[in-house]
């Protein structure tokens, strides 16, 4: 293997791939990046066995070949190199970098030891825009569960349908669901449960104007645009029937200024219990009262003027859950809908728009 590459291209390629390299591993080859020199370009790959990232970088290839070399060290060296062409070559099991007068040889490992990436046939799949996918990821991934007893909830449900697609995430205490219209291009409907880590790579590597091909092979999912590929293991199992628990009969709706509510909740959260983060919202016509009372600490009270005509109702919330949800709401005003103190509360963007976004927060039980 022998190729010449600009420092910038080498740097970009390494940056894209090395984020997928595990920081600690018992399998030494996983700390390495796989270089594959092909006719007109070099492919670089990295993986932690769950997610793999593969990018194509332009280079002047003189001799084809494959080798793995330590990713972090290459990235650190490249960062310090002058803006000059870099010549990369194999010397036995070593990789050699020459750039101006700088010369490095690093110990590598044979390419055969590198795990083979999932083989995905992109001819049978879906096509989506970077903008749509990134938007869904951004608005839902925060809600996945961090608790590991139900692995299904550690993933994001991605539903691909004729004419639309949706992502849903929940930890059983709150839920985020977003949908966008999408042309399936005749591909069949499908449900995937995708680890959030993989989706973060997708969000990081694909630009809004990218056209992304998505295809499945066994329990792997592949994403591909021009020069970038992301592969991930899928979480197996059946996602709980979330649709059934989203209330349709929340007949009391308050329209609230998002920023005002956010900052009031944040103020209340200061005095809320470190463990439960419980605050109380009491809705009454035209007004919401925010209250917090924490034994051993103290209490707080605030109120906001809101659009609400329903009857008086008090609901307890984990302030953190409310703040998270509000952070991702894309409009200046939000509609908070509820029915009873122990029932699920939904929060949606308010006003005349076609944003299909719904967040749900389960209340905290109030004890008096």
């Amino acid at each position: 293997m022998n190729f010449t590459i600009t420092r910038q291209n080498l740097h970009n390629g390494l940056a894209a791939v090395s984020a997928s390299i595990p920081s600690k591993t018992t399998l030494p080859v996983l700390s390495n990046i796989l270089f594959e020199a092909k006719e007109d370009a070099v492919w670089m790959s990295g993986t932690d066995l769950d997610v793999a990232v593969r990018v194509k970088v332009p280079a002047d290839v003189k001799e084809l070949g494959r080798l793995t070399a330590p990713g972090k060290k290459l990235q650190e060296i490249t960062r310090e190199l002058p803006e000059q062409p870099v010549e990369v070559a194999t010397r036995g099991e070593q990789i050699e970098l020459k750039c101006g007068r700088s010369n490095f040889k690093l110990n590598g490992l044979p390419a055969d030891e590198f795990p083979s990436l999932a083989e995905v046939d992109f001819s049978e799949g879906w096509t989506v825009t970077g903008k749509d996918v990134n938007g869904l990821i951004h608005h839902t991934t925060f809600a996945v569960s961090t608790e590991e007893s139900r692995p299904i909830l550690n993933g994001v449900l991605w539903e691909l349908r004729e004419g639309s697609m949706r992502m849903v995430a929940t930890n059983g205490h709150r839920l985020a669901r977003m949908g966008v219209p999408a042309e399936s291009g005749g591909a069949p409907s499908a449900d995937f449960i995708v680890p959030p880590g993989a989706l973060q790579h997708v969000q990081r590597l694909f630009k809004d104007d990218d056209t992304i091909e998505v295809a499945r092979s066994g329990n792997h999912l592949g994403f591909r645009a021009d020069s970038t590929e992301v592969y991930t293991r899928l979480i197996e199992g059946t996602y709980p029937n979330y649709d059934q628990v989203i209330p349709r009969d929340n007949d009391k709706v308050a329209t609230i200024d998002k920023k005002a509510l956010e900052s009031a909740v944040r103020r209340m959260a200061v005095v809320a219990s470190d463990q439960t983060h419980r605050i109380r919202l009491k809705f009454e016509p035209g007004r919401v009262h925010l209250n917090v009372l924490t034994p051993d600490l103290g209490e707080g009270h605030d109120e906001l003027e809101i659009g609400y005509e329903g009857e008086e109702l008090e609901i307890g919330f984990n302030a953190n859950y409310l703040l998270e949800v509000l952070r991702y709401m894309p409009t200046d005003e939000v509609d908070v809908a509820f029915k009873a103190p122990e029932r699920a509360v939904t929060i949606e963007p308010s006003g005349d728009n076609d944003i299909d976004y719904l967040c749900l927060v389960m209340p905290l039980r109030l004890l008096d």
Binding site: T146, E147, P240, V245, P295, N318, E342, A344, R365
Partner: protein, 583 residues
């Protein structure tokens, strides 16, 4: 007509009294040693032969007696210690009934050698079965020596009830040990058939005396426990929970310097230990109680083993609180240190007169010690967090093996077990919220459907109200199924279903932990803490570690988890230096 009723001759009266006071050789030793201490001896030597059956010899370097006193003391109720009934209220001396010597003399062959500072020559009084046989001059130094031979030679019925030589020896040694612990500033020697059983040179404080008796490795497991209230002053040494073992318990109680027995105070101390030691473990304890004049009645029993307090509940609370607050401090945590100094505890200065040093001087004595705890207790009762490395606003924390948290303190390293620590946090939090009505439950989007055994379902129904106040909203669903609609949310890795299942299993089938709880609230709080706490093996972020660390030190007993295991093990810079050969 002949008179039926006769006044008993003194000899007979004394023999009867002896039946109460002199039960066995150990009672002789106890009475004579107490006399020596009342005579302000600085050194008491006891020699026994054949378990005291053949010979008991007690010598002291106390004030001694003149000839007149030496003769008078053989009369019953002759005492130098009180003069009128009113004096009984404020007894500060061991003896006062004036019974001891005549009673002993009545049932043995007794030699009394004594001289006080004013006489030029000493006196020897020989008594045989209560009859003074001779009084002669004797050259000797100041002090008193009493030799008792052939105990019970004239009371064969009593002699028959004596136990074996080794058993009597053991009881004597035990009695001497109690007196020696009460008076560390006095030298005590005990030899039995020329073999030395106790050799305890005078020391400054009680912990040093414990070390002399049972070894420094035992005394170094002790920490100070003290508490004062309404003029009642308790100073004590109790064992660190991690050092407490099942088996023989050493528990010694002293009131105004007098050993006494009180199982209810040992129980009170155990209440203080609650949740910090496992079931069946018996921590050592040494309590020195000073009570105001008139609040203790030691005249309950001639042998004075039992005493009567006017305010039992107050004394019990004093003991419980002293133990509890000792366990709040860092000194009570487990440690890797091998060379710990026992905490100095001065218990009695001089053997007569008003004894308790003023609180100020006593405090000064603590402060002057080399190994005094460096942080004072928080005024509102919460244990103070250890002082961290100066300059660091937050503790520098490292997670090791995803199980332990390492923190650098001014004096070395703390190793915190994350699961144990979180158990303590959750236990206290739930106990606190029980008092306020209950824990907050997070309603679930997907309620948990849980199948249990029939007995478990019954337990859930029984406990429903309490489970609800712990944050679990449970609804029986018929048959062996329950539905859980709301759960507590103690941390982001909390597995509610598993915690609930395990809690119910433990509550239904019992466990050591469940048995150690004193009531249902504690039972629920303990099982919830145990099942709900962050597990070993859970990777934590820096912020999570910091939060856990802060929460732990906000609890009352940060150093001990609810199973009676340590949450924290200390490694001091001194010990590190020793390990690296820097000393």
């Amino acid at each position: 007509m002949a008179r039926r009723i006769q006044v008993l001759p003194d000899v007979v009266a004394n023999q009867i009294a002896a039946g109460e006071v002199v039960e066995r050789p150990a009672s002789v030793v106890k009475e004579l040693v107490e006399n020596a201490l009342d005579a302000r001896a600085s050194r008491v030597e006891v020699a026994i032969e054949r378990g005291g059956k053949r010979r008991i010899r007690v010598s002291d370097d106390g004030v001694g007696m003149g000839r007149e006193d030496a003769l008078l003391c053989m009369d019953r109720h002759a005492t130098s210690k009180i003069a009128a009934a009113g004096d009984l209220q404020g007894i500060r001396t061991f003896g006062f009934r004036g019974e001891a010597l005549p009673s002993i003399a009545a049932v043995s062959r007794l030699t009394l050698d004594t001289r006080d500072a004013e006489e030029e020559v000493g006196t020897r009084v020989l008594v045989d079965g209560g009859q003074i046989n001779s009084v002669e001059d004797l050259p000797r130094r100041r002090g008193t020596t009493v030799e008792v031979r052939n105990l019970f030679y004239n009371a064969p019925a009593r002699a028959k009830f004596l136990k074996s030589v080794s058993a009597e020896t053991r009881v004597i040694s035990e009695a001497m040990t109690g007196l020696a612990l009460a008076n560390p500033q006095v030298t005590f020697m005990l030899t039995s058939d020329d073999r030395s059983l106790l050799d305890l040179p005078a020391v400054d404080d009680a912990a040093a005396r414990v070390g002399q008796v049972w070894g420094a490795d035992q005394s170094s497991t002790l920490i100070l426990a003290s508490h004062s209230e309404n003029g009642f002053d308790l100073k004590g040494l109790v064992q660190r929970p991690d050092a407490a073992k099942p088996g023989v318990r050493r528990s010694y109680l002293f009131v105004n310097g007098r050993p006494f027995r009180a199982p209810q105070l040992v129980k009170a101390a155990e209440r203080g230990y609650r949740t910090t030691i496992p079931e069946g473990v018996r921590p050592w304890m040494f309590f020195y109680l000073q009570v105001p004049k008139g609040h203790v009645d030691v005249n309950v029993h001639p042998a004075k083993a039992e005493v009567r307090f006017k305010e039992w509940p107050l004394i019990e609370m004093l003991v419980e609180d002293a133990v509890r607050s000792a366990l709040e401090g860092e000194e009570s945590s487990a440690t890797f240190d091998t060379q710990l100094a026992a905490p100095p505890l001065v218990v009695r200065e001089g053997s007569t007169g008003p004894v308790a040093p003023s609180p100020d001087t006593q405090m000064a004595l603590f402060m002057a010690g080399a190994e005094v705890p460096h942080e004072a207790e928080d005024p509102n009762g919460a244990a103070a967090a250890p002082e961290l490395e100066p300059g660091a606003t937050r503790a520098r924390l490292w997670q090791v093996l995803h199980t332990y948290i390492l923190a650098e303190t001014r004096d070395g390293i703390l190793i915190v077990d994350q699961h144990s620590a979180h158990e303590r946090v959750l236990f206290q939090r739930l106990m606190d919220s029980f008092e306020r009505g209950g824990e907050v439950g997070q309603r679930l989007l997907f309620p948990l459907t849980i199948r249990l055994t029939q007995t478990e379902v019954e337990a859930v129904v029984d406990l429903e109200g309490l489970l609800e106040r712990a944050g679990f909203e449970v609804e029986p669903f018929g048959g062996d199924t329950v539905i859980v609609h709301a759960v507590p949310n103690p941390h982001r890795y909390f597995d509610a279903e598993r915690a609930f299942r395990e809690m119910i299993e433990e509550l239904t089938h019992g466990s050591e932990l469940v048995r150690s709880a004193k009531n249902q609230h504690e039972r629920i709080a303990m099982t919830f803490a145990c099942k709900g706490a962050i597990k070993a093996g859970q990777k934590l972020s820096g912020a999570e570690m910091q939060e856990l660390f802060d929460e732990l030190f906000a609890t009352d007993l940060p150093h001990h988890d609810v199973h009676g295991r340590p949450t924290i093990v200390r490694l001091s810079k001194g010990e590190l230096a020793r390990k690296f050969g820097r000393t």
